[in-house]
Symmetry: C2
Subunit: 333 residues, 2 copies
């Protein structure tokens, strides 16, 4: 568990996109960050107060979260000074970078001395079990994509928000770096050793109240040659009761795989449902989540109508038009 509230470290991010981890936290947990810390040259902002380490600590910050990608894959010296100062002030550090905080001897030394934690959220800290396949109580919903990076995490977070607004029990279950930093805990699934992937997902979604929904963050795609194994482990470990098809219209090919076309929503429906029914025969596909951010509103509405016609299911862009239609169908008997 990563302690909140956070101070969001934006470093010298050249633009908003470079700080997308911070943005995810700000968008979905707006009350969880006391401020932002920016270095000279930083062009990103989170509409949060700029605080010094001392000011952040006085405002109650428990953890400095690196909310930005590091240029060249290296933790630069001017970053390290800030990170060291945060540790010295008593804050923990959390990072989703490929380079690990735990591999920086200077930070490890200060953290040990001050009794602070270094959270490298890409690296599993737990030894997960082999999946048992046992049916758990409570309900689970999983987003499956025609491709990677089509908005599965934002869909799950939007559904959680809508369900909480309606007083429905629901938990977001994070499986990726940004999701873990948003939620404060989770399983970094793509960093788990192959044999333990499905077991890690079982651990993440334990027995719960019969009327409680786990909203599991999706990963990869059954149709993406690079990551499909992770997706299937998520389906078989998660044992979803409900699947939501996630799609971004207009992509010329699978992301990173120029020779592969995206599947149709109908193909995704059939393939993901048949794989899910291996572990939960009563699983059903309930709706479609469209990422229409590249389209004008009229075109976006046409995308939704197309998706509804193709699948016979309600479709929405949960960010643009709200997650209401997905929650409606999820909780309908």
């Amino acid at each position: 568990m990563i302690k909140k509230p956070y101070l969001l470290f934006l470093g010298d991010a050249p633009d908003q996109l470079a700080a997308k981890v911070a943005r995810g936290i700000r968008d979905w947990r707006p009350g969880d960050s006391v401020g932002q810390f920016r270095l000279p040259g930083c062009a990103a902002h989170m509409n949060l107060p700029d605080l010094t380490i001392k000011e952040a600590r006085e405002a109650g910050a428990q953890t400095l979260v690196i909310g930005v990608a590091n240029r060249g894959g290296v933790i630069a010296d001017n970053w390290k000074e800030v990170l060291a100062a945060a540790l010295e002030s008593g804050m923990d550090l959390a990072s989703g970078l490929h380079n690990r905080l735990c591999d920086e001897p200077s930070l490890v030394e200060i953290a040990g001395h001050k009794g602070c934690s270094l959270h490298d959220v890409r690296t599993p800290k737990v030894d997960y079990p082999i999946a048992s396949g046992r049916k758990r109580s409570g309900k689970r919903c999983l987003g499956v994509g025609t491709d990677v990076s089509v908005g599965k995490m934002y869909m799950a977070l939007a559904m959680q928000q809508e369900m909480h607004n309606r007083g429905i029990k629901a938990s977001f279950r994070a499986t990726g770096q940004t999701g873990i930093l948003v939620e404060g805990n989770g399983v970094p699934l793509d960093g788990v050793v192959a044999d333990f992937m499905a077991g890690a997902v079982e651990s993440l979604t334990p027995d719960n109240d019969d009327d409680h929904w786990d909203l599991i963050e999706g990963q990869g795609s059954l149709f993406h040659a690079s990551y499909s194994g992770v997706t299937l482990a998520l389906i078989h470990g998660g044992q979803p009761d409900a699947l939501i098809l996630c799609h971004e219209p207009g992509r010329p090919h699978m992301r990173g795989l120029p020779s592969f076309q995206l599947p149709s929503l109908a193909q995704l429906y059939e393939t993901s449902l048949s794989m899910a029914q291996i572990v939960n025969p009563s699983c059903r596909v309930v709706g479609v989540s469209i990422n229409s951010s590249q389209f004008a509103e009229e075109d976006a509405r046409r995308c939704l109508a197309d998706a509804e016609a193709e699948t016979g299911l309600p479709a929405t862009d949960p960010i643009r038009f709200g997650a209401g239609p997905l929650v409606d169908v999820l909780i309908s008997p």
Copy 2:
């Protein structure tokens, strides 16, 4: 690459089953071992000469292979004495145990001093890439199972032997501990970090001659909740041209999952082919490999006839009746 020939270490194996790694090597690479080494109380044997470390070294042994499971999951002191002596004599060590040789300081020290290697074949030694999905030259065949441990590795090894007997170019591509020790190299797929599984399989099965077949060792099952993600990574990384359905008749439930029934061969056919055709639309299912070791011959032949009737494909038990029918159909246009 693990250097051959081997000395097979059988330790204090209580029975033949405990030494199944050694048996795999002896069965499939009979010329690769100069002898066996047994401790007092060992009830297993490989029909190889019992050699001292000195005699094995004089006979040319390059690597001592631990061909037995360790009782209680601990490398006992009486084992360590032998392993140390083997290193002192200049041999490398290779092991598929869960405990790693590299975690034994006394062995690490001697190996460093003597310039010998410690091969822990469960632990990937290479940083594998993310899968590219690129089509490679040459042909690939993969066994897929109704369950785990149904004879996929023995099928691939039997096919390799049959193809070599006929002068057909074929390589066994090992993906598990025993397979790696049999072949001397491979990818320990279930120990690879999730993001890199499919990329590891691509690395294992690179471009090759147009008339060359990779016979890829299968892992897990698409229908086994604990390991299905590994299986799908193998299918999408391997991009097989041909699938062979593998089955052991008579199992009451999926191994380790008492509440899960095995799929039918028809279900396995449909599901595995549709997943394979995502990356290779011309993939086909060519035959069925039956593990009939629990049956008398007449019943075994009936199992084959049943499988042929259900799938419309040739079926054989490649160990009992030979892999000929599978090779025939594999190389038919």
